[in-house]
């Protein structure tokens, strides 16, 4: 798949996820090796009102979404891949008033499972806010709602 098609497919997928829109997630870049999402800092996402640090749940959602979208990078057509499990290790608190970026990649694809990993960071991916590993299920053909969503996301025929 060429990179423009991948970008469009990922944009359509992201725009179909209501909660990703609520958090304001933005697709920064995507290619066959992975993608970067941006989580804009917002007062409504604070977990500790004294330190103004973002809630861990927002980092988890950023990274679950990034890892989920990374499956598009390795699949020829869109498949609904629910999360099987997700582990997140918090390296340091994200600094308040600054956006968080989430890089994710799918590093192993099998007929039924896709293994992904990622890193959340602010300036430098080498100084991560969090490290993540997630495993996603491939449901195969005939998953509920998949045809509709696949047409919408692959071809842009249907607004998802």
């Amino acid at each position: 798949m060429n990179e423009t098609a991948l970008l469009q497919r990922a944009q359509r997928f992201l725009s179909a996820i209501r909660h990703a829109q609520v958090l304001g997630l933005i697709l920064e870049r995507i290619d066959s090796t992975g993608l970067v999402l941006r989580l804009p800092y917002a007062e409504s996402l604070i977990g500790n009102p004294a330190t103004r640090v973002l809630h861990g749940g927002t980092i988890t959602t950023l990274m679950d979404t990034a890892c989920g979208i990374s499956t598009l990078c390795v699949l020829p057509t869109f498949e609904i891949c629910p999360t099987l499990d997700l582990r997140i290790d918090y390296m340091r608190p994200a600094e308040p008033d600054r956006d968080v970026f989430g890089f994710a990649e799918s590093y192993r694809v099998t007929p039924h499972v896709i293994f992904t990993r990622g890193v959340a960071y602010q300036d430098d991916p080498a100084r991560p806010v969090a490290q993540v590993m997630g495993t996603f299920m491939r449901l195969g053909k005939g998953a509920r709602g998949e045809d509709h969503l696949q047409r919408g996301i692959d071809a842009g025929e249907v607004s998802p």
Binding site: I17, H19, I46, P49, G57, R87
Partner: protein, 147 residues
Amino acid sequence: MTPTLLDTLIREAHRSGDYQPLLEAIPYARLLGIRCQGGDTLTFHLPPNPDTIGNPLLPALHGGVIAGFMEHAALLHLLIAMKIPHLPKIIDFSTDYLRAGLYRDTFAQCQVWRQGRRVANVAVTAWQTAQTEPIATARVHFKVDEP
């Protein structure tokens, strides 16, 4: 909010046993709409809210929302059960998704398996229609020794 004000809010919640004002003071908990029900066993409640949907077709809750809800339930449960005077810091979080989290009421209960001087281990179970059929389980480590 100043750290002193937050500490006062936590102290007041421990004294009165009403943790709703503390929940209301945490913007992300307010965004998701997390509630806390007392009684013999603390139960956390996430009412259906269209803003938490991930899969628009089922529709189903975003996996990150389920995780965020469980993480927050674990944090509050630990704070309440151990009467911790400040918000514990999260070290790591691991969740297993067992069933689709559909667009309906979601509940969570927690168990503190171990609290050492520095670190606590908390298990979380989330369910919708029946507690015996969880939609997800998780475990969380928190650092509890510093303010």
